[in-house]
Assembly symmetry: D2
């Protein structure tokens, strides 16, 4: 159980690019990082509006001279300071991830980047190579996988409690884009291929489904896939506001998932069900503290976070203890902590630790982009089956 | 609201073929029919085991001489009695539906048949023609569509409350066949193509999904469809114990559904969600008295059966009144009542009534089989898209 | 599992007093009784409005000459017929229960009466004595205790699965009387002491809580009790539309319950929780097919009706089988069946059967009235503790 | 919405007494405080075991020389430092709250203290007087009232959306003390009157119910009260592990609540229902992001945190935004923020701000203790009604 005791040598000196006052995602990064003294926010290029960004940064406690206007300025200002930032989070629209990440790595700065990581697997591989050369960490904020019960599912699968996995059933839908007004900034860039990349909801929310399933089912690989996507608001085409994906796995399992932002009125519908030959587990981020575990022919059971009957992997990630709810902020704190522990291992030169340490890194980011590329390839071929590549 | 007052001229004189002591489905027919004096059980060929069938029939109150061994005997015994049965329910394995139905119709007896109706659309059309010639009703026991809130959804869709329908999301899964022991009678015939037809779960439970969606969305037609099916227990092949179906509708809507009998541990997961441009409704037969209604941007609302704010179509089908739960038996009672009203209209020669009277009849049965044929055609082509035909 | 096979010698010849077209409760009796050929509705004095009552009765299939205007007429007409009714249900306002029941018994007719049975324990004892003399059954329609999972709870308690019972937590509330318009017939008589007796919600809904707790906890007796009641709509005083009751049991357990008809907006809140030293069970009539079973320190478990892991007592009362919902009508059918079995045992002179046969009879009815008397005595003493008497 | 921008002049210099490695509550304080740069943890007397406390403090980032053994040492070490702590949190067993709080205030240090605040109202009044003289804040960690939807309920009540409040129904129960092993430290001191005061569960969890009801219903005062308490584990007597409390309010409303730590198997059962003449609201800390709002005669509605339809008071306290769960840590962060804003107002001499600023302070702490005193007085008089004093 996490109680705030430091597991790294010193707090990370941390900066942000993006995540300014007018966006929603910045606070998730900050509330995830700024807990337990894991990170100290020392620099930022929060906003393309220089004055607003500086005012905002100072209200976050960043010194005046470390509130930068552009990421280039931030790199220039920080890279040679003795107390310059160790790591920078990139919370900007998708199309900027690649260039900012590359520039930060080249300046010797670790990176934590929003998903979907980049536009292409090629870009991911370029960055992976660069990070390896520079001996730097690239973390990816798949923010839902810090929940303790996600790791309970993974541990149960690993121990064979479910038997052979047969069916993967996933959904992440909401209705916030049911209407056709895409003028708000956060929607405008997400629905424009130039700024969002080749997908809207597949990348924006579908990658969470895919990554979480990888965490729970690391042994299973997709062999072929079919993606059927549609823009119910026509101006969003060629991007999609709705998609279903069918997947065949190498162990014979079948997967299906649904992503949408036009599921009118739907709240909190990120749902996962993993069905094995003996039993199933089902979890939703809407009630992240509960895990439904069902053995065929027995009463259903509901597990609660923080309880002694859980696997160690789950209890280790617990923060509030049984009876006391955890929220998305607690999950983000775990993600940020695990990335900090990876960076700290780099500081210590401890590659052994890194070999088994779980955190969403460059591989996870790359695989998320690969999954998107396959989805788009299928969809663009008329929702045809494609061999996973 | 239904209070038991007779809406037909006299109780139907009713017989059963199948539905004996060792099966599960017979009681659903009887508890559906034998309420409010809508039907009187007067004859039956309940069981292939003659002695057991007779003993059983007599314990149901059927006279000794009207407990028959075969459906042929039943027809022979009943057709010329002055008080012979008006209508017979067919609750036998799928492969016998066609011949029994045909024989009953030829003998001038109305029929109520289990789903899936027959093996092929061709058979359906033969029976439809015969029934028309004989001026007889063929009802189909899609037993879930008698629930009042199903008709609330239909009325809301018809009034445009949801806006344009965009997405259809359906599921009917359980885990009772997660293991590989198919020796029980009810499983053995369902997993054998000779007795079940060309599908297992698609026909056994998937047709419920399809028919209910037709009731709610009568204006929408499928244009193309893709069905991916699999037998996780290999001995069930070529039939399936798991399938996903994607559907494109003529109004541009997208549908997806999941059926399975290997969803280990899952209970009560018949779920329907109809998403419109303005709002969505969601209903599950596990809690049939509640309807979730969600308008984007407003608090979710939960409607309860029997409440005055519901549409008349829903209130008309209510039996227990608000606060008091209805179950599957009440839904079956409505189905049986609506079929009795159709037969009664035939007695009265009231074709006007029949033009607008809702009940699951030969058309519904035929469309269910058509949907199965399309699913199988797609699946057998390698889960390929097929034009709906 | 109940499949409709007759467990009695012949259907009961049945009549009703009350339960006419304008009331809500009549159909619950009829849908409970008229299933499986357990009862045949042959006579009735359904309505104080003679014409309406006759028209209604005939629409229920009752012969013209057996549709009576008053219960006196019914008794006069039926008592000497060879095919006269065996048993009559009394579904009239409370103040008439005693005189009608007495008259029926005196005429040699078995009785099934609505709750609360009578106004006083003295009346109950008079009737109990009369019924014993006449060798007749008095059943009481505590309609919720036919649900199979109620008997699962009872069996688990009896086997010691919960350990020593410590806490009883019960609630039956709704909001249908939150407003102050009591003019509807069904409300008017319930809020008038002359017609309702000394309580409104305590008798109308609270007795269901008390009786169900007796079924589950037959070994526990109340030692003292405190009842705090109030009429939020002043015109209902001295009757109450809200009450809380605290109870001390002879085994040291503590109970508390809440009844109200002004719990604005509340639907389906009949809830029971029985807490033992080892585990607890929780059940609600809103989802009668589920039973929550919680062992301290283990995952919660949810049991579903009809599943093989349940106790025989529960499975014996099941009608629809696992996966298929049961509703209040199914519960009433069990109550009516169990009462029919009791009457049938009287026919057969089988007192041995009656010694262990479970059904809500005159003792249950008497104890319900006793509980009300104690509640009123406490409330009228200023919500003071009273020794249970 | 809270996004981390500083609303106070500078982070509070913060220390802790108690909350060490072996306890559970310390991390709730730290994760609540150490977010958004609201507090900096600079000193602590975390543990009576000096070495363990120092090791722990240093792992929290506290300097070696500011890890103290006793609160007296902490005061001595901090009071004259220029950078000495502004405020200290007291997270120790109940019996030490009074002396530590008094000593801190006398040293000119603001205090944040666990509930129940002290043993007696007299002690509360001594401290209130001292705090007033010293111009210092005393905050109380009623940690559940930072949830945004608590303030939605308060705003709805204040606007009259529910009509006149009639019924208050509250529950906080769990089963972690269903067994009789009280040897764990956290249980041992809570079940001993010398260290816990005159109550166990009433003070430990019941005060949360009482305070939250005050936040939602500030206009209602208790006139009389009855408390029935019991120790199901006899060694806990005269303290209680179970209690029910009935309350009569000055506006005629009725309240009842249940607290227990022997509710075997129960998880997450902190529940509140406020019933008005027009509508009701219901909220549980187990799913703090949802608020059930029920208007009699309309569909139920479920409100979700962070949605624009909520009142400003609720949205102002939101951290994660709609769709994204908040947990108990987020609620604690709000409580700590609001207390910091109160202290900051003291720094600024802004008594006007303090007049309307909401936070749980000395008055809330005092009223909690007063409620406990009344409960104990009633319970000790044999669960008798007492005038609230």
């Amino acid at each position: 159980m996490i109680n705030g005791e430091r597991t790294i040598q010193r707090p990370m000196r941390w900066g942000m690019v993006g995540g300014g006052r007018t966006g929603q995602v910045g606070y998730k990064h900050r509330t995830g990082a700024l807990r337990d003294g894991t990170y100290q926010l020392l620099a930022g290029a929060f906003d393309l509006d220089a004055a607003r960004g500086r005012d905002f940064g100072m209200k976050l406690g960043v010194a005046h001279d470390r509130c930068y206007t552009t990421y280039q300025d931030l790199i220039a200002g920080e890279k040679d300071r003795e107390d310059g930032v160790d790591v920078v989070s990139v919370a900007t629209p998708n199309f900027t991830h690649f260039e900012i990440t590359k520039a930060l790595l080249e300046a010797g700065i670790h990176v934590i980047c929003e998903k979907p990581l980049f536009f292409t697997v090629d870009e991911c591989e370029i960055v992976a190579k660069l990070a390896a050369e520079k001996n730097l960490i690239v973390g990816v904020t798949y923010g839902f996988t810090g929940h303790p019960l996600v790791h309970q599912m993974a541990a149960m699968v690993a121990k064979g409690v479910l038997g052979d996995i047969r069916i993967v059933d996933m959904q992440y839908t909401h209705g916030f884009n049911a209407g056709d007004d895409d003028s708000a900034d956060a929607v405008a860039w997400r629905t424009n291929p130039a700024t969002a990349g080749s997908t809207f909801v597949l990348g924006d929310i579908g990658t969470h489904l895919y990554y979480l399933s990888e965490v729970v089912l690391p042994h299973m690989k997709i062999e072929k896939l079919l993606c059927d996507r549609k823009a119910f608001i026509p101006s969003r085409a060629p991007l999609e506001d709705h998609a279903t994906v069918l997947m065949h796995y190498d162990n014979g399992a079948r997967g299906h998932l649904w992503v949408s932002s036009v599921n009118a009125g739907n709240m909190g519908s990120q749902r996962y069900r993993f069905v094995g030959s003996k039993a199933s587990v089902e979890w939703s981020d809407a009630h992240p503290d509960q895990l439904v575990y069902q053995v065929q022919g027995e009463p259903e059971s509901i597990m609660h976070h923080g309880m002694p009957y859980l696997e160690n992997e789950s209890l280790a990630a617990d923060r509030m203890g049984a009876l006391h709810t955890e929220g998305l902020g607690d999950s983000w704190s775990n993600i940020y902590l695990w990335i900090a522990q990876a960076i700290d291992a780099k500081f210590r030169g401890d590659e052994t630790f890194l070999k088994t340490h779980h955190y969403p890194g460059i591989v996870a980011g790359t695989e998320g982009v690969r999954w998107l590329e396959n989805c788009v390839r299928s969809a663009d071929a008329g929702a045809a089956w494609v061999e996973y590549a």
